[in-house]
């Protein structure tokens, strides 16, 4: 692996990235997203019925239809013992929610006073959540671009933005492929990955910068290649340690936190792929497009020794 030429073989990497992009777009168009109530509005209720939900699905659906007058959008099982039911419906008023609980309470002889969890989001509020999601991502990306341009170089800033966009897109693609519920956790996951995956890219770029300084006569591509090889161990080990921790959260956590951890895991993997295989080659390509001599600029822009 250490002797792999990342720059010369960048075509393979780009092809893999393109495949992911195409699959992602197809999935988004065909399967669409599983919009949670944060974004689409509606009511989500969770309740422990003390029995295996899978065998009771039809009964629960019938009760819901009876009480609220239309079918539930979905009824799913959850919890390690599959005794918890997650019911999603259109927006319910408080009385209807109570009536539904009473009906289920009677059928399953429950002792609880109400649902384990209730989430009702009116349509006016969900519209706001959508806007916030997009705005926060754009703001964060803009700030990070400014920061990288200050610390490194504009073309490297562009390259890192493309890598970030790829990471976020991959996450969204999997949200669609695996139909992970899209809610305000999406914002947190995206911003976490934005902040985290840029780290790996920075470490590589830092090395490229250093190599350019040390080996002034070598080609940019050779210095960049060397930089990626030198930082490879670090990139992989860091990914492993982070995956160990967030992986445990995914394996052991409750459902709501699983839906949060999985996109982060995907983002981390996409992040290591993009920073190792895409970052430096893109920087080189942008240099050629904008006719920037990376090393020339280095002399004028280097502030910190």
């Amino acid at each position: 692996m250490k002797n792999y030429n990342f720059m010369k073989n960048s075509k393979t990497a780009f092809i893999i990235a393109a495949v992911v992009l195409v699959l992602g777009v197809l999935s988004m168009l065909i399967r669409g997203f599983n919009l949670d109530i944060d974004f689409a509005g509606g009511t989500e209720l969770s309740i422990s019925i003390g029995k295996n939900v899978t065998s009771e699905l039809d009964n629960i659906k019938a009760i819901v239809k009876d009480v609220i007058g239309e079918e539930a959008s979905s009824v799913a099982k959850s919890g390690s013992d599959a005794n918890q039911a997650i019911i999603k419906t259109k927006e319910l008023s408080n009385e209807t929610t109570d009536k539904l609980f009473e009906a289920l309470k009677e059928k399953y002889n429950l002792t609880a006073e109400t649902f384990d969890s209730i989430e009702t989001v009116g349509s006016t509020i969900s519209g706001d959540t959508q806007k916030t999601a997009i705005v926060s991502c754009l703001v964060a990306v803009a700030l990070i671009l400014v920061y990288i341009t200050i610390r490194f170089q504009f073309t490297s800033g562009l390259s890192s933005i493309v890598c970030l966009a790829f990471n976020i897109f991959t996450m969204l693609a999997f949200y669609s492929l695996l139909q992970i519920p899209v809610n305000s956790n999406l914002i947190a996951a995206c911003l976490t990955i934005l902040g985290y995956s840029i780290n790996a890219t920075i470490v590589v770029f830092d090395r490229v910068r250093e190599n350019n300084r040390k080996f002034k006569l070598a080609e940019f591509d050779d210095n960049a290649n060397l930089a990626v090889q030198q930082t490879l161990a670090r990139s992989i080990n860091t990914t492993i340690t982070t995956l160990l921790t967030i992986g445990m959260v995914y394996i052991l956590g409750v459902d709501s936190i699983k839906d949060f951890a999985l996109p982060i895991i995907i983002g981390i993997i996409a992040g290591v792929f993009s920073s190792v295989f895409l970052g430096a080659p893109l920087w080189s390509k942008f240099n050629k497009i904008f006719k920037v001599n990376a090393k020339q600029n280095k002399k004028e822009k280097t502030k910190k020794a």
């Binding site: 384990d116 947190a188 250093e210 340690t241 982070t242 921790t245 967030i246 936190i257």
Partner: protein, 445 residues
Amino acid sequence: MNWFKAVSVSKFLLLILCTVLLFAIVLLGTPDVAFLGSLGVFEEGAITLGLDLNGGSIITYEAVPQDEKGKITADGMADVEEVMRKRLDNMGYTEALVYLIGDNCVRIEIPGISNPTKAVETIGSTAKLSFTDDDGKEFMTGDNVDGAYAQYYDSDNDGIPEWSVSLNLDDDGAVKFANATEKAAALSSQSKNYISIYLDNSVISRASVSGKITGGHASISGDFDQEYAEELAALINGGSLPYDLLCDGTHGSLSSVAASLGERSLETSLIAGGIGILLVLIFMIIMYKFLGVISSLGLLAYTAIMGILLIVTKANLTLPGIAGIILGIGMAVDANVVIFERIKEEIRAGRSTAAAVKAGFSNALSAVIDSNITTLIAAGVLWYLGSGPIQGFAVTLMMSVIVSMFTSVFVTKSYLKIGIDLGITKTSAYGVKIKDISANADKNS
């Protein structure tokens, strides 16, 4: 061993003892010593748990003007906030939070209610009191009521005490009430000697009057139980709202988690965190040997400091927040990995271990700082634009980054320096194979 070595060994042991002790204290708690109280992370109430872990509800009401011509104003919303606070205090929800969101929404966070859907209706009711004669003509409103309190006594002289709400009227109200009761009493022949009291357009009391009532006291009675009487008194005391507050499915939002679900979430997350830390420690020691041991000590320090910060700042710990801390552990180790890989490289290039450690730290520092700053930027944006549990995540993520910068750089460096002084300089201890070291030392600038 010589004097220098002895000093180094004692420094090393002292540092280890401090770290482990700190970790133990934060985990297990101290006995109730003077001002320390019991610091332990697992002590009740040491850490402020968010509603999704403790159980509770977040209710967001949308304010709507009471008639079509009305408008929502900033002053009006400020009134709403004040009335809500008073109301919640009077109802006994002393730990509830009330704050405004945007132009026309008010959000309430209440820990531990057992029936959220009912609470939404009660807490959000407009609470407009209206006193009318039997024809429905209003002669007085709640504005003239100074105070209300629930009472348990035999108000109708039938030998059985019951719950009722007594009202104290202000001077103006006393006059109005006296006049109204006088007029009503005069209509007893037509059976119209009744005064009705409305709460938000539904009758809660319709009592007959036999004479003028002066003295400025009125009473509302019906088939009340204690809970209803006290709630009613609280509503009246809080004052009525200038707008209608809606949280009914199309407007506003309700998010409620039962305590049992919250407990489960907390338990599983803690277990996940514990196992995660263990795996990371094992991994680091395998990959980096002695350096790995050092980074493990750094991790212990990180966890301990995070625990203390959470207790001292009373920051709200939510479920995503715990995920943030656990993620932060992986990222804290990241800084160590960057530095250690650099050190290994320097050793391979031929430097002495002492020089390699020094060079490794200084060369890697810029990358560590840059990457942490970008994570802070992202977390900052998230904190500013997010709300509720997401904000909790942003806060713990920011804390994680700052604390990990401290432990991964300073704490680790101190340990390493002492390690060098102790003579732990064999390259194999750092995970570098002898055959990888280049023959001629490359004097890097």
